[in-house]
């Protein structure tokens, strides 16, 4: 793999700096084309959405613990008659919880916030390949948020985040399937557009803009994971967007805008829902499931891989050790992504698709556990023999690994078709994906926030608050989600507003109450994070360029990096994980950009030059 000619790149960078002048407030903080500002915008937006999604989840938990009881304080707000949550409100709550968390939190916080912030910094570029496209990718989030908001206004989509037809395709089928569903579909389309712009940009940037010397196998794993995620997004997203439009055409209301279309991709004929006219069609509801999961299964990895990459970087830095098995780590990322495209059918084992397909999908799904296992072993190997710093970042990374183990292992149950027959759509699956998406991804993200905060704002986040937040979140998280495995095995289906009308689930009420208490603790703990984050921007300890003594290219830039990131174009001499290298004395890190003369040579001049460029 060739890289840019260092000399040429340096000239180019120099040219760029020529025309610089201080941008206006709007250009700098709002419609900024600076990847760092866009990343921070994404981060703020998604953290806010995290709180929104969490509040929705607490509504769900309340109903499960104290069904049909007035919610203290919010009873009137959450409107059924008599202060109860109404069942359709409950379906809206979990639908919008999942929607907000997936489309407005996890995907954009990984690719949007950290992808944007880290990619140019870590590969030593001055910005993204297409800065304006990058800005648009952020601002296309806002129509999505606007349409999700409209969806709330119309009562909230309530067909589950998977939006299976016919529930979602026929406006008569559910209270949330009217305009709220249209708005939901439009919003998802905009999220897709935003992600697509991002992923085009990331791919181009990573391929074309690497600093001199930054070969592919010198890239930090974060960049590898972002690169692979971008590819996944670029290939999977069009399918979802197409499916979304097909659904919109099927629904064909949109205020008469699409009146003439009224297709029936998903609607079979002769279905009478809610005493409306029988449907005329000939479509197939199963088609949506195929299309949806063709995107949404890879999307699961879009929601996980970047966190894996970032955790690899953080673990190596915090254990002062090279990552264990760099190439296997990179290859397994690619393997997960590749296999991720051929496993979507495992969401549909009970759906009535050709049962013979079940076997194929089972084998591919179970095999996807293999690269995940390799990664886990390598993380443990990375910690092995390290000199561990027990700070908040490390704790979050270890939590990531251990929770990912639980999520991964419970996935094997889901992948095995006969067992999945029983636990499909029970709380077991809810436990599984929360362990992966919250237990793994969000802990990784919390760690990453703490880790790269100094680079974003030039100050450190409070360690003490970070640890309190970590402790409460970890305990609350496990208290909430671990019992869900048991609920699932006990046969409690998900998405039930009141499971206890079924006699065999009655005895699970106390357990659900315990889980809700834990969930409330966990929810409140996030306020600590918010406070820590905001207050540290202003009163955190000043950090300097490289507070963690890490090796990555981003740490030679000033904190926060100015427009253009680096004073000079960095030259990369080695991989990012040369911690505890015996080549240097007196310190346990060796930065990627640091030139060491080959042993025995006396090329001290160049080495001195490079040292000056560092800090």
């Amino acid at each position: 793999m060739s890289t840019l000619n260092p000399a040429a790149a340096a000239d180019h960078a120099h040219d760029d700096h020529h025309g610089h002048h201080e941008p206006s407030f709007v250009r700098k903080y709002i419609f900024s084309t600076d990847h760092k500002m866009i990343g921070i915008q994404f981060l703020i937006t998604t953290l806010f959405m995290l709180l929104v999604g969490g509040a929705l989840a607490l509504g769900v938990r309340w109903q499960l613990a104290w069904p049909w009881q007035n919610m203290p304080g919010f009873g009137q707000l959450f409107g059924g008659e008599g202060g109860q949550i109404s069942p359709e409100f409950y379906t809206m709550l979990f639908t919008m919880h999942a929607t907000v968390m997936i489309f407005l939190v996890i995907i954009p916080i990984l690719a949007g916030a950290f992808g944007n912030f880290l990619i140019p910094l870590m590969i030593g570029a001055d910005d993204m390949a297409f800065p304006t496209l990058n800005m648009l990718s952020y601002w296309f989030m806002w129509p999505a948020i606007f349409f999700f908001g409209l969806s709330f206004y119309f009562g909230g989509a309530a067909a589950g985040w998977t939006s299976y037809p016919l529930l979602s395709a026929l406006p008569e089928a559910a209270p949330g399937s009217g305009h709220a569903q249209n708005m939901w579909l439009l919003a998802v389309t905009f999220v897709g557009v935003s992600s697509m712009m991002g992923s085009v940009n990331y791919m181009t940037t990573i391929i074309n803009m690497r600093a001199p010397g930054m070969t592919l196998f010198r890239m930090p794993l974060t960049i590898w994971s972002m690169f692979i995620t971008a590819i996944l997004q670029a290939f999977a997203l069009p399918v979802l967007t197409a499916a979304g439009f097909m659904m919109l055409f099927d629904r064909a209301e949109l205020g008469g805008l699409l009146e003439g279309i009224h297709t029936s991709f998903f609607v079979p004929s002769g279905i009478i829902v809610n005493n409306a006219e029988p449907t005329v069609g000939g479509g197939q509801a199963l088609l949506w499931q195929h299309l949806f999961w063709f995107y949404s299964h890879p999307a699961v990895y879009i929601m996980l891989l970047p966190a894996m990459g970032m955790v690899s970087d953080m673990l190596a830095a915090m254990c002062r050790k090279p990552i264990f098995g760099y190439k296997p780590m990179a290859y397994s990322l690619a393997a997960i992504a590749g296999l991720g495209f051929i496993v979507w059918g495992h969401h549909m084992f009970t759906s009535g698709m050709n049962p013979a397909l079940g076997m194929t999908f089972m084998v591919s799904t179970i095999m996807i556990a293999l690269p995940s296992a390799i990664k886990t072993f390598n993380w443990i190997g990375t910690i092995w023999g390290g000199k561990i710093r027990f700070n908040t970042v490390t704790l979050h990374c270890i939590a990531f690994v251990s929770q990912f183990v639980v999520g991964g292992l419970s996935g094997i149950f889901m992948a095995a078709v006969p067992v999945d027959i029983y636990i499909h759509d029970t709380y077991f699956i809810v436990a599984h994906f929360h362990y992966v998406l919250f237990g793994a991804t969000l802990f990784g993200v919390f760690g990453a926030i703490q880790f790269w905060f100094p680079k974003m704002f030039g100050r450190m986040m409070s360690e003490r608050l970070g640890k309190i937040h970590f402790f409460l979140t970890f305990v609350g998280f496990n208290g909430t989600f671990f019992p869900m495995h048991m609920l699932g095995v006990a046969g409690m289906p998900r998405r039930y507003a009141d499971p206890y009308i079924h006699p065999y689930l009655e005895h699970l009420l106390p357990m659900n109450q315990f889980m809700t208490v834990c969930a409330i603790v966990m929810g409140l703990a996030q306020l600590i994070l918010v406070y820590n984050w905001i207050s540290s921007i202003f009163i955190g300890e000043k950090s300097g360029r490289n507070p963690w003594n890490a090796n990555g290219v981003e740490w030679i830039a000033p904190s926060p990096p100015p427009h253009g990131n680096f004073e000079e174009v960095p030259t990369v001499y080695r991989g990012p994980y040369e911690y505890s290298s015996p080549l240097v004395e007196g310190r346990d890190y060796l930065m990627q950009t640091e030139y060491l003369p080959p042993p025995g040579s006396d090329d001290s001049e160049e080495a001195a030059e490079d040292d000056a460029g560092e800090s």
């Binding site: 559910a174 090279p322 079940g358 886990t376 910690i383 000199k387 251990s402 507003a497 994980y577 346990d588």
Partner: protein, 289 residues
């Protein structure tokens, strides 16, 4: 100090997790009623579940012990630097091949049950096997938010799947209708056809380990043999609207199903005069024009 606390923290939580799992059968947090499945195939599914559970437990304990070990080691590391190692090719090979073998074993070991459960018989339809005479056939139509059930006229014996398809296509004289309560054979195979009257539902009987979605516009066959008498909860497992949780039904396995159906039929033919169960009027009025 804080290092020891966190090492303990990451050592203790997996222990708690395992303890919780271990006590859950005693706390009735396992399969419904702590019973084994009421179908032979369900029992095999349970066995597979426990097999995976065993493998997974070993893997979980292994990784957690390893993690705890490296954490304790790392927290006590007084060296100036960490261990400068980029990994070990041999280890990578080992921990690729061993899990791969285990995973492949799991995958292949499952296939047989799935084949019996859904595939083989399905493939043979209308070619080799006709329906067995002992089959009960019933049509279960899920709708918002109840299960509507239709049995063929008591005593009907279907000879071919074609006949069954014809019966499914439209209502027939003498059909027996019921709601929310499905009677099935005990110790004999039951064949039901799942339909949906409106949106997607799923027929889920936890005790039987049976789950199948009811797709709108499709009629999906499900078969199982119940080998324990009793009543089993029937629930909906696919979001079907605001009243999803309301779809409470029951499956009851009975010895003499046909007698039960005749009772239902007699109730259904009740005309307010002739007590149900006795001979309905038939010949008496034939004379009047």
């Amino acid at each position: 100090m804080s290092r020891i606390f966190w090492c303990l923290f990451f050592t203790v939580w997996p222990i708690i997790a395992i303890v919780v799992c271990a006590i859950s059968p005693a706390m009735d947090w396992a399969f419904p009623g702590n019973r084994e499945a009421a179908t032979p195939l369900g029992q095999r599914i349970d066995d597979l579940f426990y097999l995976i559970l065993g493998i997974v437990t070993v893997a979980f304990i292994g990784t957690m012990v390893a993690l705890a070990y490296v954490l304790w080691k790392g927290s006590k590391n007084e060296d100036e630097k960490g261990w400068f190692s980029h990994g070990s090719h041999n280890l990578e090979v080992i921990w690729t091949i061993v899990p791969a073998g285990v995973l492949l074993f799991i995958a292949l070991y499952q296939i047989d049950v799935w084949a019996i459960y859904r595939v083989r018989e399905h493939e043979n339809r209308d070619t080799v096997n006709g329906p067995r005479p002992s089959h009960l056939v019933a049509e279960v139509t899920a709708r918002q938010f109840e299960w509507r059930i239709r049995y063929p006229k008591p005593g009907t014996k279907f000879k071919t799947y074609k006949e069954i398809k014809a019966w499914l296509a439209k209502p027939h004289a003498g059909d027996v209708y019921a709601v929310n309560k499905l009677f099935v054979h005990l110790n004999r195979e039951t064949l039901i056809y799942l339909k949906s009257g409106d949106v997607q539902h799923a027929f889920f009987v936890p005790d039987l380990r049976v789950k199948q979605d009811a797709m709108p516009g499709q009629s999906i066959d499900v078969w199982f043999t119940v080998n324990k008498s009793g009543k089993f909860n029937l629930t909906c497992a696919e979001l079907c609207g605001w009243g999803h949780y309301k779809m409470r039904g029951e499956v009851e396995a009975v010895e003499d199903l046909e007698a039960r159906l005749r009772e239902l039929k007699a109730l259904q033919d009740f005309d307010g005069v002739t007590p149900p169960g006795t001979a309905p009027a038939e010949a008496s009025e034939e004379a009047t024009p």
